[in-house]
């Protein structure tokens, strides 16, 4: 339905985008993402014929976009612009009714079908209760929904959204994008997104723009890779698959990368998500940090991986192998300090503690002992507690929280910031 081929876009002499080609059609929700100024809005405007391409053509239903009359095009293409500021106090219903102009035309009158389309559009966007309010006295998010309703009332074959949900609260963002995704089974939808995770969650396909061209195009998982995000946005990111949707989730990694400022080596024995905070704090503190042994499906492992921390691992649900045990011994002996987070300890990872019991207890920091909050942490029938108690007796330090643990590590290594 939409065929963009070899399009170059710009304003005056400045080229914003070049060599853009893609197709989309009914049944697809296509997302456009990219850094500020990468030409997302300009591309959308070219499809809406608000900007003429410097080169290349935009075709709709097999015809060049230039051949359509203004009203003919508006029956095919609906646009939700980034910002809309009504000049006068029209009622919400009046503004949504303006979306029917393509069907009413110059000298026509409103028909029951028009009123019906307006009512439906206001209902699905949740603005029906505001119908008689002035568009100048409602909130920004409400206005954005009015403009979305206006585009829906237009009943276009192609719906273009320019960050259409940017000003909405989470509930409305999700409900409206959900509704638009359902709508995209019957029409073509192209949306510019700032929020990569919304794009990943709702779009069938994503175009990533960078450096005046298309950097990547394809399914969300293929486009939103850590490499592509680093290239386009200049940000280290962690990309994980949301287990509920199967779609990628992007989170920026804000911690200083890899460069360890200190010589001291700190090994962290952790698991069950208890270690991530300590790993981040030690890494930020500039220590050379290692971790393990951890199961590959442990969130502490994911944290260590995202931070670039070397880690001893075992496959999911497997006990610690003899080989890992030996590696841990080597790493732990090399470490200047060893931090043990609170459990949970079970038969799968008790081996970690057994290895430590043979080492110098003076280098060990045990966390969380004073605040177990009644949570069960020892699933070994008391073995883990026995080992930890004996370590404490032999002089292991105890730290109630992360700052205390950092303090203890500093004491042991004798290094100050």
């Amino acid at each position: 339905m939409i065929d963009v081929s070899g399009v170059e876009l710009g304003y005056g002499a400045q080229v914003v985008l070049s060599d853009v080609s893609f197709r989309s059609g009914k049944g697809e929700f296509l997302g456009i993402v990219g850094p500020n100024g990468s030409g997302k809005t300009t591309l959308l405007k070219a499809i809406a014929r608000l900007v003429a391409p410097l080169r290349g053509v935009v075709m709709i239903n097999g015809q060049e976009i230039e051949v359509f009359s203004a009203i003919g095009l508006s029956r095919l293409v609906g646009l939700v612009p980034q910002a809309s500021a009504p000049g006068f106090e029209y009622s919400v219903r009046d503004v949504v009714m303006m979306g029917r102009y393509p069907h009413i035309g110059m000298f026509g009158g409103e028909t029951p079908a028009d009123r019906d389309a307006v009512r439906k559009a206001m209902e699905v966007t949740g603005i029906a209760p505001l119908a008689d309010r002035s568009v100048r006295e409602i909130s920004g998010g409400e206005l954005q929904r009015v403009i979305i309703a206006r585009a829906l009332a237009q009943e276009p074959e192609i719906l273009l959204l320019d960050e259409a949900t940017a000003h909405l609260d989470l509930g409305h963002q999700v409900s409206i994008l959900q509704m638009i995704r359902e709508l995209s089974r019957r029409i073509a939808v192209i949306g510019v997104f700032h929020d990569l995770n919304h794009a990943a969650y709702f779009c069938d396909r994503i175009i990533l723009l960078h450096d005046h061209r298309i950097l990547a195009m394809g399914d969300p998982a293929g486009v939103l890779t850590e490499e592509n995000i680093a290239r386009a946005f200049g940000v280290r990111a962690m990309v994980r698959i949301n287990p509920l949707s199967g779609r990628p989730v992007v989170s920026p990694v804000l911690h200083p990368s890899c460069e360890a400022g200190k010589d001291s080596h700190v090994h962290v024995v952790c698991g069950g998500g208890e270690g991530a905070g300590v790993l981040v704090a030690l890494r930020d503190g500039g220590y050379r940090v290692t971790a393990g042994v951890l199961s590959l499906n442990d969130s502490d492992y994911l944290a260590a991986e995202a931070l670039g921390i070397p880690c001893l691992t075992e496959p999911p649900f497997c006990p610690i192998s003899e080989r890992s045990r030996r590696d841990l011994e080597v790493w732990a002996r090399d470490a200047d300090a060893i931090v043990v987070t609170r459990g949970p300890w079970g038969t799968g990872n008790i081996e970690n503690l057994r290895v430590l019991s043979a080492l110098d207890a003076g280098a060990v920091v045990i966390m969380g002992v004073s605040s177990w909050d009644g949570r069960k942490w020892d699933y070994t029938g008391g073995d883990a507690e026995k080992i930890l108690s004996s370590l404490k007796e032999k002089g292991a330090r105890v730290a109630a929280d992360i700052p205390a643990a950092l303090g203890a590590v500093r004491e042991i290594t004798g290094e100050t910031r």
């Binding site: 009359s69 203004a70 009203i71 095009l73 612009p81 500021a85 000049g87 029209y90 009622s91 110059m106």
Partner: protein, 317 residues
């Protein structure tokens, strides 16, 4: 606005307008009995030869200025816009002054009309880029052209000698010379208002912003051209009859928008009627209580403070 009764408001305004016409025709320094004797010629002359054409001219000029005001405010998406933004006022004044200085006052009406429309087309022509006329460009060009034409006018006044007083009177605006010819000319406002009314829906959509209007299927460049030509024509008719009377085109749409809402289908006819009522009342006040002060003095005297009031109200919200 569905919750108001547009039909009732229009009917009420029509009644008020009719009443204003009757009352203003009857009011005046020379007391004319309501039912003068058939043979009483002087009374009839004053009523039909002097007051009625003056009243009708004032109503039509008021209606025209208000219509042009509505159109300009919608086009510029700004309720502070007025019909003279396109340089029409300065152009008309220059045309009239030229007629007064060079032709001894003959043809001042057609020359004022030519000056008005000429200025508007000049502004439009300068603002046009590759078939498009951005409204900001129009606004700024209008200011520049107005200043330029005003400079020419000042020069003309400087060298005008004895006709200075005549130019001065024209500039203040008024209806004291209004004749049936003026009233007939004023009727041109009515057919010109027809396309404006037919384009009511498009004007509503245009006031959302140009890109929005374009994506909703409105041919905005054609629409702007229609609106500019029509409002320049209407303004030129008004200016050539009565000079540049201020504030009618600014205040009337503003008041009516508060009353009937922004929808042009109702705003336009109601503003036209209200503009007629306001101007005919102002003129009657000017010629009776004001001892024939120019009506522009009356509209400015009441209009300017009211405008400040509206500005402050808008600023407060």
């Amino acid at each position: 606005m569905t919750w108001r009764r547009p039909g009732a408001i229009l009917f009420l305004l029509a009644c008020l307008l009719a009443a204003s016409i009757v009352i203003c025709t009857l009011v005046g320094p020379a007391g004319v009995p309501l039912f003068s004797l058939p043979g009483d010629n002087s009374g009839a002359t004053i009523l039909y030869g002097v007051r009625l054409p003056r009243v009708i001219s004032a109503v039509l000029v008021g209606a025209g200025l208000a219509a042009a005001g509505v159109v300009m405010q919608g086009l510029f998406r700004n309720s502070m816009a007025d019909p003279y933004l396109l340089g029409t006022s300065a152009g008309g004044a220059l045309g009239a002054a030229t007629a007064i200085v060079l032709l001894g006052g003959a043809f001042s009406m057609p020359l004022a009309f030519a000056g008005c429309t000429g200025a508007a087309f000049l502004v439009y022509g300068i603002s046009r880029r590759a078939g498009r006329v951005p409204v900001e460009q129009l606004l700024l060009t209008g200011i520049a052209v107005s200043m330029f034409l005003s400079a020419l006018l000042s020069f003309l006044m400087y060298v005008s000698g004895e006709s200075l007083h005549q130019i001065f009177l024209w500039l203040m605006g008024g209806f004291w010379t209004a004749s049936w010819q003026d009233a007939w000319t004023g009727l041109l406002v009515l057919p010109a208002a027809v396309p404006l009314l037919l384009l009511a829906r498009e004007q509503d959509i245009l006031s959302l912003g140009e890109e929005d209007a374009l994506s909703l299927g409105v041919d905005i460049e054609l629409l702007k051209k229609c609106l500019l030509v029509t409002s320049a024509f209407v303004t030129a008719v008004a200016v050539s009859i009565a000079g540049s009377i201020g504030f009618i085109g600014l205040i009337t749409p503003h008041i009516m928008r508060l009353w009937v809402g922004p929808g042009h289908r109702i705003l336009l006819p109601s503003s036209m009627m209200a503009g007629g009522i306001i101007l005919v009342l102002s003129d009657t006040l000017a010629r009776t209580a004001g001892n024939e002060v120019p009506v522009g003095v009356v509209t400015a005297f009441f209009g300017a403070p009211f405008f400040v009031f509206l500005l402050r109200r808008r600023y407060a919200s």
